[in-house]
């Protein structure tokens, strides 16, 4: 599989035309920094049939590897962090070693880590690490499916997908500096109105979004083909491997979309019901234009309909935009692309029995089995902390080998919070104290426990104790960019916003990727309010510009 054979997901003339149009637009777009426009895939997109999955892999690209351990530390600061599952990881790393060897790069850095996430989640980082959620490991039916997923993620590393990230970071920096330069030449009075800086940044952002969409979607398809190639080479089945992996993903995405739709419908019904029972509103001072006056005059029920319609429209627009501009081609398209490849190269889809026993053995290993059981209990509790047996279930989850893991501790914490205190035994201790069990075991540490504990102490006006918790957490997570935005905000709230800004500057210097989030976190409530007002005025200005 050669790099220049990559084609757009979905293929065909319309997709190619769209891609070429986008590339053409970008080539002539002066606001698009060269670092993005020169990414290899942008100049290599062309239409072709399915590429041969049995051909040689493209040669690996030389690169400088980021620090593997710092990368792992950073993932501990995301979400609920990682699951310390040594036996399971040994099995997963054995599979990754075979994948690397089959790809001809046995000595590349990186390993497999388990995400403490209930979702079907998996990703790879530029450091060479692969992160896969516990739910994938629970749900997969065979080693074939697991190796297909790991190979897909490894493909992102092998194909050097992460060069996009550094290109985008460079481009963002260039653009923000450029924007600042233009901004300084403008009169202060224009700051709140739609101005040249806004035009520049919007043009850039739209262009960047287009490039990253094309790049990401083509890379996803390339990663699928790479996965098919490697899994075949390693003796795994197409049917039970990549096809099963994509089918599970498609089912999960379908179910989540149905769930979202149900929630949306329920929300609409609630808005209507609430409006129906509310007293009719009187046309007030706020109804300053004919449209608002008209709406106000029709009463609360009509307002409910308007609110419901606006909510529905926003939902549909969001979903529509995700479909067009998502980083992934639709999973059905990916499945189709695999089916076309399998039809064009039948040898790759030859029937092979699924390898179930090794995966089953890994899941049934005593420690791993206990860990999977405890996490399943914990997810159940967090999902329904009001259930009558939630507290009892949570206590079972906080047992060896997961007694100091963040997810089970959090489950117990939320169950205690939800449980009514016994009448003769009022609750005296702060339940968040139990989260400190997570601080004591390095392999289990997750930033979320420090965040929650310090936040509760702060809310209870125990600021020095809260600061000790954050300081203690930062002593371990000082090189984790994901920890910084909360730390900046926390110090703003407890030590003042000058301190927050000082920390945000340090954050931007050390972790350019987190700069925007740190700067946002360093804004005082008054500054935030002012920014919201300015944003509103700019949005109104934009509307005027296009619709008056």
């Amino acid at each position: 599989m050669r790099a220049d054979r990559r084609r757009l997901p979905g293929g065909g003339a319309p997709a190619l035309a769209a891609a070429l149009l986008a590339v053409g637009l970008l080539a002539g777009c002066e606001t698009m920094p060269q670092s993005i426009a020169s990414l290899p895939v942008i100049s290599q997109i062309r239409s072709s049939g399915p590429s041969n999955p049995l051909a040689e892999l493209p040669p690996p690209v030389a690169r400088t590897w980021p620090d593997v351990r710092q990368d792992v530390l950073n993932q501990r600061a995301r979400g609920f962090g990682l699951v310390n599952a040594p036996e399971l990881q040994r099995y997963l790393n054995g599979l990754l070693t075979r994948i690397k060897t089959a790809a001809g790069v046995p000595n590349w850095p990186g390993g497999v880590h388990v995400l403490a996430s209930h979702a079907l989640d998996a990703y790879a980082t530029g450091a060479g690490n692969i992160y896969i959620s516990l739910s994938w490991l629970t749900d997969m039916e065979s080693e074939d499916e697991l190796v297909a997923l790991l190979s897909h993620e490894f493909a992102h590393i092998y194909l050097h997908y992460h060069q996009l990230e550094s290109a985008v970071a460079d481009a963002d920096t260039v653009t923000s500096v450029l924007g600042l330069g233009v901004g300084l030449t403008l009169k202060t009075g224009e700051a709140a109105r739609w101005n040249k800086v806004d035009t520049l940044l919007t043009t850039y952002t739209l262009g960047r979004g287009l490039v990253t969409t094309i790049y990401s979607q083509s890379e996803e398809s390339a990663a699928d083909r790479f996965s098919l190639s490697l899994t075949h080479k390693l003796g795994y089945s197409y049917e039970h491997g990549i096809k099963a992996f994509l089918e599970r993903l498609a089912t999960w995405e379908d179910e989540q979309e149905k769930r979202e739709k149900l929630q949306q419908e329920a929300l609409l019904a609630a808005i209507r019901a609430q409006a129906a029972t509310a007293p009719p509103s009187r046309p007030g001072a706020a109804a300053s234009n004919p449209l608002n006056q008209g709406i106000a005059a029709t009463g609360a029920a009509a307002q409910g309909e308007v609110a419901a319609a606006a909510s529905q429209l926003s939902f549909e627009l969001t979903k529509g935009f995700e479909k067009v501009a998502g980083s992934h081609p639709s999973t059905l398209k990916r499945l189709d692309a695999m089916a076309e490849t399998a039809a064009a190269f039948p040898a790759v889809a030859v029937e092979r029995e699924a390898k179930q026993k090794p995966l089953d053995a890994a899941r049934q290993e005593r420690n791993t089995a206990n860990l999977l059981r405890n996490y399943a209990l914990a997810f159940k509790v967090i999902d329904a902390p009001n259930a009558p047996d939630a507290l009892e279930t949570a206590r079972k989850a906080v047992a060896a080998p997961t007694a100091s893991h963040a997810v089970p501790l959090f489950a117990l914490y939320v169950a205690i919070n939800e449980a009514p205190p016994a009448p003769r035994n009022p609750r005296t201790a702060d339940p968040s104290q139990m989260l400190e069990a997570n601080f004591n075991v390095e392999a289990d540490r997750a930033w979320i426990t420090y965040k929650e504990r310090s936040s509760k102490l702060k809310d209870n006006r125990q600021v020095p104790a809260a600061q000790r918790v954050v300081d203690q957490g930062l002593a371990y997570f000082s090189r984790a960019e994901e920890a910084m935005p909360y730390a900046v905000r926390f110090y703003g709230e407890t030590k003042g916003w000058d301190e927050a800004k000082r920390r945000a500057q340090a954050c931007a210097k050390d972790f350019p990727r987190a700069a925007a989030r740190c700067n946002q976190a360093a804004m005082s409530p008054a500054e935030q309010k002012q920014q919201d007002r300015t944003d509103k005025i700019k949005k109104e200005g934009l509307m005027e510009r296009f619709f008056k």
């Binding site: 979400g79 985008v168 009001n386």
Partner: protein, 116 residues
């Protein structure tokens, strides 16, 4: 504020995990196909019996040697695995993602889109 409370309450009610369904054939592959070949036995090379999209979904009764056994109009047949899309169950949910949402970086979008 009241709207928010209602929304959160509804979210909690609706957010319970989905039941893991039995495997079903939910589509044809590639998806532009409109008929599905049904075989009397695993490994048969030809057939005159075909189902259409309107006959889906079909429950998978058994899986063997790259084929799935299904019941069509009261009789059992076999279909070839690569020709169908299977709905595969999952115990996953958005529990942790709701409490601790994570931001995807540009280059780590994962195996699929963020469904939560």
């Amino acid at each position: 504020m009241k709207n928010q409370v209602i929304a959160i309450g509804l979210f909690a009610v609706l957010a319970s995990p989905w039941a893991v369904a039995q495997s079903q054939i939910v589509g044809l592959m590639p998806s532009n196909q409109t008929t599905l070949d049904l075989y009397d036995n695993v490994g048969d090379s030809g057939t005159d019996t075909r189902a259409t999209l309107a006959d889906l979904p079909m429950n998978v009764l058994e899986t063997k040697a790259g084929h799935h056994r299904v019941n069509y109009k009261g009789k059992d047949y076999w279909v070839r695995g690569p020709q169908v899309r299977i709905s595969r169950g999952s115990s996953a949910g958005c529990t942790t993602a709701r409490i601790a949402p994570t931001t995807q970086t540009t280059s780590t979008p994962g195996a699929g889109k963020n469904a939560c």
